[in-house]
């Protein structure tokens, strides 16, 4: 399993891996917002956490279609599926998700505080948003894995995956953003939505890989 994790990380970092694509897209989205909204610093600071979350969500979806498709094209996926008796397929999928998250999504979380400055956010708000992104984005990857597994055989499945996955990520978005706001707006709680966000991630860490494994198992042809 460690071997698979390291292989996927290496592939992500090396040429054509697309680790930076997500970050650049994230940067482009966030940098555009102030131009569109106008120079109202208070407004920017207020919508900052939500915009960061939406930007991160969309950037997460960007690379998901390659999660299994690259392995399918070169035949590796068959061998990963055949290895089911040694490494349960759901665990293989979980490992691939974690590698994808560490390679493509973690850079987004790291970039988020810097992009928060673009939105004139306070330090505590930036910290809270980065923390919720750290805890919440794995959930998006796990849901995305199920979508990617369903669409693995489609040559242009990228958009379909986004459309399939986006409605399912809404709860993650809601609790992520409300926890981020809870850190600054006084009457709102931070801990409760944050814990629900963590629970969502843990729940989807099971449900996502299991359903993705099921889809892959029946999608081989």
């Amino acid at each position: 399993m460690l071997a698979l994790f390291l292989r996927d990380i290496r592939l992500n970092i090396r040429a054509g891996g697309g680790a930076l694509t997500g970050v650049i897209f994230f940067l482009a989205v966030i940098a555009t917002i102030p131009f569109g909204v106008g120079p109202d610093l208070k407004l920017l600071a207020r919508i900052g956490p939500a915009i960061l979350w939406i930007g991160a969500l969309l950037s997460c979806l960007l690379g998901l279609d390659r999660l299994f498709q690259a392995d399918r094209e070169d035949g590796s996926l068959d061998l990963l599926v055949l290895g089911n008796d040694r490494h349960m397929l759901a665990l293989t999928v979980l490992t691939k998700c974690l590698a994808h998250w560490a390679g493509s999504v973690l850079p987004l979380v790291v970039a988020a505080p810097l992009l928060g400055l673009f939105m004139n956010m306070e330090p505590i708000s930036i910290g809270a948003t980065a923390l919720t992104l750290l805890v919440g984005t794995p959930a998006i990857t796990f849901i995305g894995a199920a979508g990617a597994a369903v669409a693995v055989a489609l040559p242009r499945g990228g958009l379909l995956i986004s459309v399939l996955v986006l409605p399912l990520t809404i709860p993650v978005l809601i609790f992520g953003v409300s926890a981020s706001y809870g850190a600054t707006a006084n009457p709102d709680p931070f801990l409760q939505p944050f814990l629900i966000l963590a629970a969502l991630t843990l729940f989807l860490a099971v449900l996502g890989p299991v359903s993705a494994a099921l889809a892959l198992r029946h999608g081989t042809d």
Binding site: L2, A3, L4, L6, R7, R10, L11, R14, A15, G16, G17, E73, D74, G75, S76, D78, L79, L80, V81, L82, G83, N84, D85, R86, H87, T220, D221
Partner: protein, 212 residues
């Protein structure tokens, strides 16, 4: 170990591709599957491997593997729970990443598949690719890629080899070397099922003609 298929049928997208296939292979035996394009050779291999569902009949392995030093066997229990666990599947694609080095690719499959057999360098030497393990897989020619994929069969031990057009793209010398490798695998008690158009150089192989 025995690989037994009884009245086996397979389908693709709802259409029956073949039906009524039956064979039984003992330790050390090889089966060469021949037939025209579209006869269902690849489908047969994928059905045997378990990548496609069995449409009718059955295919199974029985008994235990005889090579004691490789696989530990408890009290006559089966060493492998399914055909998928007992087989190497070499499909049309080589299952190697172009961006990674040849040795890196092999090391990954060795770690992932377990049951380490030959070392990575040793396996590359055996297929005649010694000394180029550091090159990215994407730099290799078609024949070299195929040889690297064959080296993948050697780094982990599996008693059953399912080979789909294994010699496609190989030159004469590599074909001979591969024939020797398959002969060695059979002498050690392995089973081979190969779908091919080209003669593989297996002496005592059974033949299954499909599509007639």
């Amino acid at each position: 170990m025995r690989l037994i298929a009884e009245n086996l049928g397979g389908e693709r997208g709802g259409d029956t591709v073949f039906s009524g296939i039956g064979f039984a292979l003992e330790d050390g035996q090889a089966l060469v599957v021949t037939g025209p394009n579209g006869a269902g050779k690849s489908t047969l291999l994928r059905v045997i491997a378990g990548l496609l569902p069995v449409a009718e009949g059955s295919v199974r392995i029985e008994g235990v593997v005889k090579i004691e030093d490789v696989v530990e066997i408890e009290d006559g229990g089966e060493a492998f729970p399914s055909i998928a666990a007992a087989c190497h599947y070499l499909g049309h694609q080589n299952a190697m990443k172009p961006a990674l080095g040849v040795a890196e690719n092999l090391r990954f499959w060795r770690d992932f598949n377990g049951d380490g057999h030959a070392g990575v360098e040793e396996a590359l030497e055996t297929v005649g690719l010694g000394g180029i393990g550091h090159l990215p897989f994407g730099y290799l020619s078609t024949g070299q890629r195929r040889r690297a994929a064959i080296a993948k069969l050697l780094v982990s031990h599996r008693p059953l080899w399912l080979l789909d057009e294994p010699t496609a793209g190989l030159d004469k010398a590599s074909e001979r070397r591969f024939a020797q490798l398959m002969g060695k695998h059979c002498r050690e008690g392995g089973i081979i099922v190969a779908a091919t158009h080209l003669p593989l150089g297996l002496d005592e192989a059974k033949e299954l003609r499909m599509g007639q």
